[in-house]
Symmetry: C2
Amino acid sequence: MSAVPVTSSVTPFTQALDMAPWSQNHLQRVEQALSQWVGTDAPAGLGDAMRYAVLDGGKRLRPLLVLAAHEAVCSSAPGPANADTATRQAMDDAALRAACAVELIHAYSLVHDDMPCMDNDVLRRGKPTVHVQFGEAQALLAGDALQAFAFELLTPDHSLIPASTQAALCRLLARAAGSAGMAGGQAIDLASVGVALTEAQLRQMHRLKTGALLQGSVLMGALCGQAQGAAYDALSDYGAAVGLAFQVVDDILDVVADSATLGKTAGKDAAADKPTYVSLLGLAPAQAYAQQLLAEAHAALARSGLPDTRALAALADMVVRRSH
Amino acid sequence: MSAVPVTSSVTPFTQALDMAPWSQNHLQRVEQALSQWVGTDAPAGLGDAMRYAVLDGGKRLRPLLVLAAHEAVCSSAPGPANADTATRQAMDDAALRAACAVELIHAYSLVHDDMPCMDNDVLRRGKPTVHVQFGEAQALLAGDALQAFAFELLTPDHSLIPASTQAALCRLLARAAGSAGMAGGQAIDLASVGVALTEAQLRQMHRLKTGALLQGSVLMGALCGQAQGAAYDALSDYGAAVGLAFQVVDDILDVVADSATLGKTAGKDAAADKPTYVSLLGLAPAQAYAQQLLAEAHAALARSGLPDTRALAALADMVVRRSH
């Protein structure tokens, strides 16, 4: 009897997940897919800039959140794990496309953020930024094309991915990226230089600027696993907590890390007189707040009712404990 | 008997369409919808820039193409014209959303095109360009947010618009806007300054840069009317011809019109040493080519089998005969 695998949908997995092979396997899938898809049908110069912006760099946190959320939902029955093979493959394809799409949105936002009229950064992921490498006009276009391509990836023709999934993924991504999400948060950021924000205002800025796309990643993965009801709501709470924790830690790292470790310019928030969690709360309370948000993320996973949320738990840990 | 309206789906409408009330009615719907939707949930500064970029300006050619194509298909049976009221209303809503979405993509491309790192234009539709009015950073963000919002508009939640229509509209728009469409054409444009292009290369550049979104507008309207087979193909040909004609006429107007009439800087292609149909073919042959494309557009409508394509025909005429 001891050789029979655990198949019950309600038995939680208590064994620790070895994240190294999990990450390696999933990162490889994402890198391969991005390399296969991005910029391949673009005119030469534009395609080069798009690929430079996206490939060979980044932690791929957002894609990993998509895939981990998808798998967490699939660990539950009834769900695609118990669906026929074609359906399961279609939803796996949807999750991989969603993983790449959120990364494209993230990558385009970095390209535009780094431009001289925004943060004027010359270093990103240890390499010259896109506008330094390809010129400002090409960087602007590459960012624009990456955003459009994210939605193209989500809507493949002649695919077994249900139209309802394709439409819902576009809806989630558009909201997470747009004026009520990432772009809106950046606009608040722009208007906040030298301004004393309350903690509520700072939280709102970060919820939009960084949190919306991180939470959106979790929700897109959950959608590909056809999560519903309490599980979807709990994953939404998890995404919100991780999204905010990410930014609190970013603020902390901007103060305590150096540029070489970060792969981007350190100390630039303070130099630019931008409000941060560290400037508002102080360093130690900001660190405590990050821990509190991590606990909230774990609590949300616990109440999701999903049997295997180990990858999501490990990603939350990684977000808070990272050094860059 | 004379009071009975013509209901046969195969009787062509031979009576000329009075375009003035048609345009006025449809423009009003588009303006109202854009005003209601754009920038209303954005942070203040961003929302202002988004609305400034979109409202109170432009010929709205792309939205009118969407609505005219939708109506042309609906003039045929079987189709949504004969569907139940709720379905017809849903598809009308889809067409209006598609009309606004293509205009948002067009508007964002103008905002980014006008920026100093691209064309560095200070005048658009007779007003200061967005970056002059709101600063470069806000212009960059407003363009980005407008693109995202186009896809949000196409994917309303709790809507009777079928998910298959929502997904297909996103697919068409993403392709028309991205690296194999508008953004790709702009990249070719960028690389073509001072370069001697062949006519085939110039045509390819314009097919992407301007043609893809104009053709996409027609196809999105056709999709909202559930056009299929020969009708869809004919409308695709119509869109391709109108799209290219638009750019040929743009090249002509850049030479023969003045800035006040154009509402933008005249003569800037020649000043920037950009290849155009006029520089390649000469003025009179370029004008003859525009007429040839207009004839192709009308021929495509004739073979569509659709009973009432008068609005599409009139829009093609308008594209070629416009003075700005």
